[in-house]
């Protein structure tokens, strides 16, 4: 008997902003229902209402006809709802079995019954067809398997509605296929599956219906994938046609801006040498774990280089700290913006000005509040950063807007070379296009750009030259004109060539 989930005029207001505005649509059981929209569209908020983390300001949910307004997450769990987030909520130090039964371990007279725990765990793991030893510590499992444990945990609690929030961002393609197989299996059992993603290829691979939100409002629900095109989805998401997301135009290259020679260090197993010219955009592709982020951090000086030299503008630079790098005109936009990028409690304005403010301070010491306000306003406008005010704590902004603020931080500095680590991760199509424009404009002004990306179309669409890393070493180099998806991918795959 398939379940049915109805969102009925769900509205959510926060002080100063309406995150959701009368969102109504139905997700039928036995189908995978995609939930898409630009960052800030309201997808996360909707999921939080579904899971009971938030209560709606107005409207309600209906599961199989019964209306629900959850006061807390326990209520949602009891009603059969499970949300699988990117940040998995498992306890790494405990075993798989203990995690599956967190809060209700089988016990005899107050003492945990290990034998029964193991037996029950095996039973639940069998539901998702996964052969994991229930006694393994969750922290020792790769992310893909942890995710499957989360799913098993949800099923063990009798979940009938399972929502996934960007589940594949850390998975290899084989693991993605495994996840899809599990999802199709859940689908066949009549569960309602909600699937939040930005990835078009996944939507067409595994989903049966698509709901699109924009600015907190429900725009359209496509009940069938037949005849649906990527263009149409994008149009609904941004409200305009995005014929060419990249808008690539070639530009002249100058002298060498960055020369990396024989660099080794943590995560880089063989000495890496590469060059980036002024005005050139070099894209670095590779699988998760190939060592790209580690290489960028070594170049920047965030990690100590074991060997090799870095030259900026033809001059060897011995910068060993981020500060020294910035002073030489080399900046890094980190991969994990929450952990390494933003200071969540400080305002948007302060986060943007964090580095460059010292150039404008009186005596290098006293803040120049006039400059700070003007600089922040300038970048908020030119990058389209959506924030209630400049003084809002940046932790409240959506991921995409946070990323733009970090870009603004570096655009406020005198940059000669910019290192970008997954600059459009978790960002919607509209904002991605904007960022591509910003990067190209930056390059056109003479900056050398080296960016790391796990999205093949992005690397092929934006870069003048493509480097590939595999297992901690460089494995291929391609020019824009001659690179193909297949050849680049082959260079990235272990045993590919």
């Amino acid at each position: 008997m398939p379940t049915r989930l109805v969102f009925d005029s769900v509205t959510k207001e926060f002080p100063g902003v309406r995150a959701l505005d009368g969102v109504s649509f139905t997700a039928e059981g036995g189908r995978v229902h995609a939930l898409m929209g630009e960052n800030g569209a309201g997808k996360s908020t909707l999921l939080k209402i579904l899971s009971g983390a938030y209560s709606p300001t107005a409207g309600l949910l209906q599961i199989d006809g019964t209306p629900h307004v959850f006061a807390d997450t326990a209520g949602a769990l009891a009603a059969g709802i499970a949300v699988i987030y990117q940040e998995l909520f498992l306890v790494p130090e405990m075993s798989v079995a203990e995690n599956l039964f967190l809060g209700h371990l089988p016990a005899k007279g107050g003492i945990v019954d290990r034998k029964q725990l193991r037996a029950e765990a095996l039973k639940h793991l069998a539901w998702i067809g996964e052969e994991i030893d229930p006694d393994t510590k969750v922290g020792h499992l790769p992310i893909a398997q942890r995710q499957l444990v989360e799913i098993a945990k949800a099923l063990s609690r009798g979940a009938r509605v399972i929502a996934f929030d960007e589940p594949t961002s850390s998975l290899s393609s084989r693991e993605v296929e495994r996840l899809f197989a599990v999802i199709r299996d859940l689908k066949s059992r009549g569960h309602v599956i909600l699937y939040v993603t930005h990835r078009m290829d996944e939507v067409f691979a595994v989903c049966d219906a698509v709901t699109i939100l924009r600015d907190g409002r429900h725009i359209r629900t496509f009940d069938t994938m037949a005849g649906l095109t990527v263009d149409e989805i994008i149009r609904s998401m941004v409200g305009r046609d995005l014929k060419n997301v990249f808008n690539y135009s070639p530009r002249p290259h100058g002298a060498c801006a960055l020369a990396v020679q024989g660099v080794t260090g943590p995560g880089v197993t063989a000495p890496v040498s590469l060059q980036v010219a002024q005005g050139e955009i070099v894209g670095m592709f590779g699988l998760v774990g190939a060592g790209r982020s580690e290489l960028l951090r070594l170049i920047y000086g965030a990690e100590e280089r074991k060997g090799g030299t870095i030259s900026l503008g033809g001059v060897v630079s011995d910068h060993t700290t981020p500060r020294a790098a910035i002073n030489s005109g080399l900046v890094l936009c980190p991969e994990d913006r929450k952990r390494d990028g933003i200071v969540p409690v400080l305002s948007v304005e302060e986060n943007i000005n964090l580095s460059a403010r010292r150039h404008h301070a009186a005596g290098g010491f006293v803040l120049n509040t006039g400059w700070e306000r003007t600089n922040a306003e300038k970048h908020v406008a030119s990058l389209g950063i959506k924030t209630a005010t400049l003084a809002t704590a940046i932790g409240f902004l959506s991921g995409g807007n946070q990323q733009k603020a970090i870009l603004a931080r570096w655009l406020s500095e005198r940059v000669k070379v910019i290192l970008l680590d997954e600059p459009t991760r978790g960002i919607d199509v509209g904002a991605k296009s904007e960022i591509y424009g910003i990067v190209q404009k930056l390059a056109a002004s003479g900056v050398g750009v080296l960016f790391v990306s796990s999205e093949l179309p992005e690397v092929l669409g934006l870069a003048d030259r493509i480097l590939v890393m595999r297992g901690g070493a460089l494995s291929g180099e391609f020019n824009r004109g001659t690179a193909t998806e297949e050849s680049v991918l082959r260079a990235a795959l272990p045993g590919g060539n």
Binding site: A302, L332, V343, V345, L354, V366, F396, R409
Partner: protein, 301 residues
């Protein structure tokens, strides 16, 4: 929290006998001047996400050393400078241990707290040092423009450190460091240098407070200021400074210190037993922090 202080003040003026006299006001200000000074630098420490338990010991040790040097050299200025030097050395040691040595701040300052207290006792065999040079007493016991000098010093600290935390790069970088140390470092902020400066400055200010206290008591006593560090941290937290770092303004410090001072003063005027006072102080801290939690939850965190 300034509002809370205003309400509290009003309530005490009405209900507590003897509260709203100029003499009593002066008494409160004088009482809080020691905690107030050190709370200004503790603000930076907490804002950076760190802890400093050694300040009480520095107060005592600096006072003793200053007194001994004044007696031995006959010069007030040399004595004062020696006391300040003690504070600087202790602070610098804390900073190096924590920033370069990677020792947890709580543990490092817990250790220096013991060591410095011990040194304070050892330099004069555990005895207090009576100061013979009367010029020294001027520092702690004279008035200037109607208020005791120590109160002016405290006020000066509020102004200077208030300016530093809100209007200088050093202050804002301190908050960034406490708010997200990894992001601050990647953004080019010299996190080690800032920590060292914070602890060194705190050592110097604590030493200054110790010297002023010594002047007020006319002797350097190795037993003073036990538990002062907890009072200072409580005052900061009471006023709204976050223990996790990244949040802190001078108004928090001012309100926390004034509230604490007012409550203590009121309890004394009401002739409360010192044991009851201890219980009451603890409860007030809990209530204030709870109040702060509720306020935070309301702002959508």
């Amino acid at each position: 929290m300034l509002l809370v202080f205003a309400l509290l003040f009003a309530a005490c003026s009405v209900f507590v006998k003897g509260f709203s006299s100029w003499v009593n006001m002066e008494s409160i200000l004088l009482q809080v001047s020691t905690i107030g000074m050190i709370a200004c630098t503790m603000l930076f420490c907490l804002a950076a996400g760190a802890f400093d338990l050694s300040v009480g010991s520095v107060v005592a040790c600096a006072g003793v050393v200053a007194a001994m040097v004044i007696n031995k050299t006959g010069s007030v200025s040399v004595g004062v400078l020696s006391g300040l030097a003690v504070g600087a050395v202790v602070g610098l040691s804390n900073g190096l241990l924590i920033a370069k040595g990677g020792v947890n701040a709580l543990i490092a300052t817990l250790a220096t707290m013991q060591i410095v207290r011990g040194i304070g006792y050892k330099v004069n065999d555990g005895k207090s040092v009576g100061v013979i040079n009367e010029n020294f007493f001027l520092l702690g016991n004279t008035y200037w423009a109607g208020l005791p000098v120590p109160v002016w010093i405290g006020l000066g600290c509020f102004i200077v450190f208030g300016f530093l935390i809100s209007r200088t790069i050093y202050g804002r970088n301190t908050l960034a460091l406490g708010g997200n140390p990894d992001a601050a470092r990647l953004a080019g902020i010299a996190t080690d240098k800032i920590k060292i400066i914070i602890f060194t400055l705190q050592g110097v200010v604590a030493a200054l407070a110790g010297i002023v206290l010594c002047s007020r008591m006319t002797s350097g006593q190795p037993t003073v200021a036990q538990g002062l560090e907890l009072d200072v941290i409580s005052a900061c937290v009471l006023g709204g400074v976050s223990l996790t770092g990244g949040v802190g303004k001078i108004s928090h410090v001012i309100s926390g210190v004034l509230i604490m001072g007012t409550v203590r003063n009121a309890m004394n005027l009401m002739n409360m037993q010192s044991f009851d006072q201890m219980i009451a102080s603890g409860l007030i801290l809990l209530v204030a922090v709870g109040f702060d939690r509720i306020k935070q939850r309301g702002s959508g965190r």
